[in-house]
């Protein structure tokens, strides 16, 4: 199945990811250099002792050349040592390991909702362009893209949690601890995230399906006497399948960003809350750690999608 040519394409993709990773981590580390004044004094906060300031200087190796600092930081980061929080003294990797599953749960749940509802809506809208159904779907999609996900979250909390009490308003439960309770807590945050995602999915799918339906292979299928339904759901879905991969990748990246604010609304102890609290208290190791892990996740997901294209699309390689 994997010809030599395809393997070469995959290898090239993997190699292309290396400079991206290096540059992205350089940006994450470079955040330190954006700080005004003496970095160690700023980070140590008010009323810090000289020992504390020296400790921070030591931690970041601030006396050494920039590239040496970066190299040592990256070497530690890649082995899982993301340094310690300035506020709590906890290892940043430990905080992230505790927070990430909470974030992942709502992101994956939201992706599921967005794809399961968005795909049929997009296809139905594409089947009759400019019909009433199409207009309704397109209008809802426009609204969904413009709505701030954290405001949607607040509306959901106000009605479904505070007014009717169907779902808890805040907090989260680990999936391993109590799956039912965990899902119950994750429903509202996931719906808030899914709103924008659903709009994106249905819009993208509609446009690629409309494009496919007006292509010449479809004319042949009609000429062969196939029903519109079978063209739409069988041939159409198969042909826009590769686009679906693009949409899912985009969706994941988008939701990873949106979750940062949505978590704040639900007080979910996830990656978002970690970085926001870190940012508010200028706890730079925490901020850098979360950004590092998120970028790593995004780059990995993009890479996996790229490799999957190579496997799925017969035209490559």
């Amino acid at each position: 199945m994997l010809t030599a040519a395809r393997r070469a394409v995959i290898r090239r993709r993997l190699l292309q990811a290396v400079p991206v990773l290096v540059l992205a981590t350089l940006v994450v580390f470079g955040l330190l250099k954006l700080m005004p004044g003496d970095i160690a004094i700023t980070l140590a906060g008010e009323n810090a002792t000289d020992e504390r300031i020296n400790e921070i200087r030591e931690m970041y190796g601030l006396n050494r050349p920039f590239l040496v600092q970066y190299g040592s930081w990256l070497a530690h980061a890649l082995t899982g040592d993301l340094s310690k929080s300035l506020a709590s003294g906890e290892a940043v990797a430990t905080s992230i390991a505790r927070s990430f599953p909470n974030t992942l749960l709502i992101v994956l749940l939201a992706m599921g909702v967005a794809l399961v509802l968005g795909i049929p809506l997009g296809i139905l809208a594409a089947s009759k362009p400019d019909s009433l159904l199409d207009r309704v779907v397109t209008s809802i999609a426009s609204l969904g893209i413009a709505v701030p996900s954290f405001w949607l979250a607040m509306i959901l909390v106000a009605w479904f949690a505070l007014e009717w009490g169907w779902f808890p308003a805040t907090g989260s439960v680990a999936l391993g601890q109590d799956p039912i309770k965990a899902l119950h807590h994750a429903v509202l945050p996931a719906l808030a995230l899914a709103g924008g995602g659903l709009a994106e999915v249905s819009r993208q799918l509609r446009s690629s399906m409309v494009e496919y339906l007006s292509s010449s292979p479809v004319r042949t299928l009609h000429a062969k006497g196939l029903s519109s339904m079978s063209i739409l759901w069988k041939h159409g879905l198969k042909n826009v399948g590769v686009n679906l991969l693009t949409v899912a990748t985009l969706l994941f990246n988008r939701m990873l960003a949106a979750t940062v604010v949505v978590e704040a609304v639900f007080a979910i102890p996830g990656m978002g809350n970690l970085i926001v609290n870190g940012a508010l208290h200028r706890d730079l190791p925490v901020v850098q750690g979360v950004v590092f892990v998120m970028v790593l996740v995004v780059i990995t997901v993009n890479l996996v999608a790229d490799v999957l294209y190579t496997v799925l699309d017969p035209r490559i390689g």
């Binding site: 292309q16 400079p19 991206v20 990773l21 540059l23 992205a24 940006v27 994450v28 955040l31 330190l32 954006l34 700080m35 005004p36 426009s142 609204l143 893209i145 413009a146 709505v147 701030p148 954290f150 405001w151 607040m154 509306i155 909390v157 106000a158 505070l162 007014e163 990246n253 988008r254 990873l256 960003a257 949106a258 940062v260 604010v261 704040a264 609304v265 970085i275 926001v276 870190g278 940012a279 508010l280 200028r282 730079l284 901020v287 850098q288 979360v290 950004v291 998120m294 970028v295 995004v298 780059i299 993009n302």
Partner: protein
């Protein structure tokens, strides 16, 4: 030019409505001191969380400040922030994209990798991180958003420049002794400007949402100054007793983002010669 513009507005109702709405917002933000019934920061602790009445058409917040006045004054902070971010993105993105696309070779390789690297950051996450490093505040936050958005513009401009530099008329211009600068200015830039206009309009919606998010998280505008995002943060704190407070700023954000997006999509259709009806 002007005639074509008005013909386009007449033919595209949604674009005309969006543009009208946005211009009205701009006017409102400029005229805020004259049209807002109260000062946006004047507290009246006798009437916290009051319902709407004749004196306060949208009620008051938890400090007794007039919601309508805060909404009107908040328009300028919100619009200023959005435009700041998008202007920064354009000022960085256009020259970088031109350089990469026009020069090609290793310069293009390096710039393209940097663009890829920056695009792998979730925008709001990097903005939060940069704000934390630079210091909390709306201007720092929006500079960060602008930097994060710049690769989107650079990528577009690069793609156009790559195509245009191989055109026959560019060769012709070069044969006639035109300098690189002249070719860029007279031929490449005008060809790249249309997709940039579309992207800028769409990015304004993105920047608006980013401002709202940052201010909501307490990383953007600082109290007591109003912005729509900051108003939502206030509404969030009082959600259990006064849930209605979240609707005015939320709807304002929704409709403004919708207007930017609609205008951008209409411009895309109107400016793209292959999509002429």
């Amino acid at each position: 030019m002007a005639r074509a513009f008005f013909a386009w507005l007449r033919s595209d109702l949604r674009a005309a409505l969006s543009l009208g709405f946005l211009l009205a917002l701009l006017l409102m933000s400029l005229a805020a001191p004259w049209i807002a019934p109260w000062s946006p920061t004047a507290q009246n602790i006798d009437i916290p969380l009051a319902d709407a009445d004749a004196a306060h058409p949208l009620g008051t917040d938890d400090l007794g400040r007039d919601v309508l006045s805060r909404l009107i004054y908040g328009t300028s902070a919100t619009l200023f922030a959005s435009f700041l971010a998008v202007i920064i993105a354009t000022v960085i993105g256009v020259p970088v994209g031109l350089l990469a696309g026009f020069k090609g070779g290793w310069i293009d390789d390096v710039i393209s990798r940097i663009i890829d690297a920056l695009l792998s950051f979730p925008a709001i996450v990097l903005a939060i991180a940069v704000t934390s490093a630079l210091g909390i505040g709306l201007t720092n936050g929006m500079i960060a958003v602008g930097i994060v958005f710049s690769p989107q513009i650079a990528r577009l401009v690069r793609a156009r420049a790559l195509v245009v530099r191989q055109e026959l008329y560019v060769d012709a211009a070069r044969c006639m002794g035109a300098s690189n600068a002249r070719i860029l200015w007279r031929h490449v830039l005008p060809n790249a400007i249309q997709p940039v206009i579309v992207q800028v309009t769409l990015l304004l919606a993105g920047a608006l949402l980013a401002e709202a998010s940052l201010s909501f998280l307490g990383l953007g505008i600082q109290p007591p100054n109003p912005s729509w995002g900051a108003m939502l943060a206030r509404a969030y704190q009082n959600m259990e007793i006064a849930p209605a407070l979240m609707y005015p700023p939320g709807l304002a954000i929704l409709f403004t983002a919708l207007a930017f997006n609609t205008l951008g999509e209409s411009l895309r259709v109107a400016l793209d010669p292959t999509m002429k009806r």
